[in-house]
Subunit: 353 residues, 2 copies
Amino acid sequence: MIKNITGKIDFIESLRGKKATFMLALSNTDTANIEGITQAGIPNKIYLTPTLDSEFLTTGEVRSLDNIAETPKGVPTPALITRAVHLLKPFSNIELINLGLEQLPQIEYFKIHDFSIKPSKSIQEGANIDAQSLFQQGVSFGQTYICKDDYIILGESVPSGTTTAKATALALGYDCKEKFSSSFKDVPNVIREKTIEKALSNISLDDDIFKILGSVSDNMIIFNAGFILGLNNKIPTILAGGTQMACVLLVVNKILEVMQGEIETSNLALATTSWIANDEKSDIKALLEMCKFDINSYYSDFDFALSNHPALKLYDDGEAKEGVGAGGTLVYGELNGLLKTTLTKKIENLLGE
Amino acid sequence: MIKNITGKIDFIESLRGKKATFMLALSNTDTANIEGITQAGIPNKIYLTPTLDSEFLTTGEVRSLDNIAETPKGVPTPALITRAVHLLKPFSNIELINLGLEQLPQIEYFKIHDFSIKPSKSIQEGANIDAQSLFQQGVSFGQTYICKDDYIILGESVPSGTTTAKATALALGYDCKEKFSSSFKDVPNVIREKTIEKALSNISLDDDIFKILGSVSDNMIIFNAGFILGLNNKIPTILAGGTQMACVLLVVNKILEVMQGEIETSNLALATTSWIANDEKSDIKALLEMCKFDINSYYSDFDFALSNHPALKLYDDGEAKEGVGAGGTLVYGELNGLLKTTLTKKIENLLGE
């Protein structure tokens, strides 16, 4: 079932049965190399996660690993959920957005939007992003993008992205200390907080907004804030993600504030998982309500109650929670008649192969 | 399974797997306020039925009731069937046609075609419809309507619509006394017959056709007769309904007779429920065969044999039978691979929520 976080059900119901393009925004930040900061990937090869996620989503294969045995044994990537939905109720189109990958996915035939963007540095020492130019690239992309389907679902894969998102929102002055999620159940607060503290020490609240973003944020957040403003409500768009996507909206909100602009958001929504919506350690609703504009937001109540697979049960226990557009994709599945039993079996199946 | 009433299976089979826009024609007539004439709704709030039906179909929520406890305990609205199919095999698009509602549905994002049409009066005293102008609005709508999908499914929600339909057909001279259905199992013939008798006493068979229609019919029937003629066979269209939709065709037939016109009907069909097709108290086949043109017509053999829910069993017992495009929607479900078990469960589920 699709449930509301904020707003009303009408927007998402109006997309029932309609065709979607799934876009996956991919980026690396050196922040992910801080030991213990994320569990989104293989230790020492965290940087490969967006590459592997996009390979698996598009082809069902993990190609950029020399040794397949390295596949993590812990919490399976949410790409598993997105891929399973795509197998059962396929997106009409998948496109990748390369926002600074260490390594390109080894795939053919799928559109990869490329902007010659480099991975960003660790926010501990300053991410060193030319934020204004990156934001402008996002705006232009949104202005010129032609969608052949009825709507866009925009997901992301950025290891340690919740850390950079939290740093971003704090640096922009939002009162959100306890409101950001993590891929961990027991959020490694010490490492994360130290990293964020260090990042915030590099900037001043009086700095120009792009200077701040360029130091504490990541490419995904900055580019997509521009993308949303460039789209300007003309294509129905679902931000498929949790607190990272909420942060994109907070950046949009702050840029509008600084530029004294406004945005129509009737065609924009956020959709996430039940693990995020019901997370006691973060508060996506509060984050969304910090925006001056209204935003419809939703979650799918899908969980692994019908599964006995220990790796999947970790999701219900509070690990992983979101990523690779899993939440928005679960909502998409429900909009297209996908049943919980069928999806659970398919995900178990993928895991067993 | 999809079965034939008249014609051949080919037309409907050619739509298998294709995309449909569902249109719901909504209207109120004061005829519905005659006590005991219909069970399509909440006593004293019958006029809300099309409003609530359209809210439920589009959003899954019933919004225009102050007190949700008023939801009728008797026969559940066929909107339940239409919504359940839409959840499992979604229409690509839903649009509403406001043909004189007392109260607008409280929904956003869904297209509501509006023509500033007022609810009609009771046919007992003359419905007081400007039938020629309304018919012309239907024609223009059909001529200009652009369908983004492969075909249209046209349903209706008009409380006491079977009474106005029967009065219409009789007033136009069709020999159809025993051929019209009712939402009741034991059709309240006395009230209905008295109402129709009274309606017929207000007109003369020599009257101009639009004068007759304006006195004894309803907005849905008159507008849709125009709509069909305006479409002129250019978009495949399924009239999703029982004897009311058959009456629309009888009106088309009569207008063509009066105007000495012809219509190509190869892209036009009617689809209804098994409860109508097998109803011993009405005869939709006979009604369809009164038309000079050939018309393909179908029904879905779906019933509640797999359910033990007492409220649903009322359908199999002969109550409710059709409405909100249920029959055409069941056929649509079958055209898209929907299984009886899955649908039965989903309907029970909606009822249980």
